[in-house]
Amino acid sequence: MALETQDIRARSATTVESAPNARSFRPEVAKLIDLSRCIGCKACQAACMEWNDLREEVGTFQGTYTNPLNLSDQSWTVMKFNETEVDGSLAWFIFKDGCLHCADPGCLKACPAPGAVVRYANGIVDFQQDNCIGCGYCITGCPFDIPRIRKEDGRVYKCTLCSDRVSVGLEPACIKSCPTQALTFGSQDEMKELAAHRLVDLRERGLSKAAIYDPPGVGGTHVFFVLPHGDRSETYGLPRDPSVGPVVTFWRSGVARALGVAAMFGVLVAGVLHYMRYGPLEVPDEADGKSGKEAQP
């Protein structure tokens, strides 16, 4: 949502990269998701629906606690109950799915509609649905498969990190609802510090593979994780080494655009120059005076 109190630092589909940035003191925020503390209560999922006025269609039991099965335009965060094995016995790799708010967002890079995807000074990546044209390029560009198109209105939706709440000094709704402090919110620096503490703690408790998931391939994220089993990020549903990737980067790059535009104008200029130099190709007999009659329909 458009908020005047949020400084927009990056805007999709702009011809000039630099955004207004005179107010430079604003600290970047972050949400830390410590999955070692998560009990899968889904309070965050309910709070998200409640604050954002979302109502997922009631589904049917699919043999898993995950419900709904995936993100949608009505479910901006979903608790995933990944069943796996640890040391030969069943384990739940519970995971809170949702937007990671990348510093270098693939959605923003891919978007062709000016201002439909923005990144605020505080690091939140937000969709402006009134500018969205529904092409779905953000879905193509996202390395985490987060944005969801709503068929009813042809717009794309995802977690806003409660940008409306954050802009007035509140924490996101999911944070407020979490009973175990698996979710914490604050400045990015504070959260990184906290994550480091939690990591030390986990390792002391014997989880030697515990790790922080803050992928550098997308410039770091404003939602990052403490993973108890850091060597198995994919089991949680997090790609091992995510990045926007060369194909999307080239497809939406200034270089590709410049090449395309240059090719277009190249054809135009070549045509004009050729005509100036050689003139029209006429049937020889007509060139000496009778051409006017021939050239007209």
């Binding site: 062709p112 529904g134 092409c135 042809g154 497809w251 395309g260 277009m264 021939e294 329909p297």
Partner: protein, 216 residues
């Protein structure tokens, strides 16, 4: 090879493109322009203003794929109809070899059929390019089909779509210029007819075919 439309009319003109061929050709041209300007807005923010022609970005995004389907439905029957006149011949290789001299108006060809090698190259580039644009376009068609394809595939098809669109634009750009440069061509596609002199000069083999081997 000789078909109904390639006949000498009572007024001495030669019918080169019959009514249906011309109508379909111009419908294809309109569909192309529609696709080109709407695609341009999606390609670069420098051209996003072209979305205003289509009633805004949302509606443009809705219309673009339908225009693409229309182009496919118009183009392939048309291409099928003129396929025989676009078969590659040894004479065409000679044309390509001397194409630069041709562009400089320094060489004439005595064995050019209904379409010259340049036109055939246009034909044979558009046949696959439009198919590629159609197939990659399906993988990008929101909200109906795109989400059935995995994102890594869509990244590649999206790039391919953009690249193919530019190949198509360059092809059509050359086609437009060649039509303008070769006096009488636009009339042939607007009114359908050409003069005997025009046919004899630009497409001598085709002319001989129509007149039954006569050179005059």
């Amino acid at each position: 090879m000789k078909r109904d439309e390639d006949v000498v009319l009572p007024d001495g003109k030669i019918l080169r493109h019959d009514n249906s061929e011309r109508i379909v050709h111009w419908l294809i041209a309109i569909a192309f322009l529609f696709l080109f300007f709407s695609g341009l807005a999606l390609f670069s923010p420098f051209f996003f203003w072209t979305s205003a022609i289509f009633g805004g970005g949302q509606f443009m995004r809705v219309l673009h794929p339908f225009a693409g389907v229309l182009l496919v439905l118009l183009f392939y029957p048309y291409a099928w109809k003129i396929r025989k006149d676009n078969q590659w011949t040894p004479a065409d290789a000679k044309w390509v070899e001397h194409s630069v001299a041709y562009m400089k108006k320094k060489v004439e060809f005595s064995d050019t059929g209904k379409y010259n090698a340049g036109q055939k190259l246009m034909y044979w580039s558009m046949v696959p390019i439009i198919a590629i644009l159609f197939l990659t376009g399906i993988t990008m068609w929101q909200p109906w089909f795109a989400n059935a394809f995995p994102a890594p595939l869509r990244r590649v098809t999206s790039l391919l779509h953009a690249v193919s669109a530019f190949v198509m634009f360059i092809g059509i750009g050359i086609h437009w210029y060649a039509a303008y440069w070769t006096r009488g061509s636009i009339r042939a596609m607007v009114r359908g007819t050409v003069t005997k002199a025009w046919a004899r000069f630009h497409h001598p083999a085709w002319f001989r075919q129509i007149t039954g081997g006569k050179d005059r």
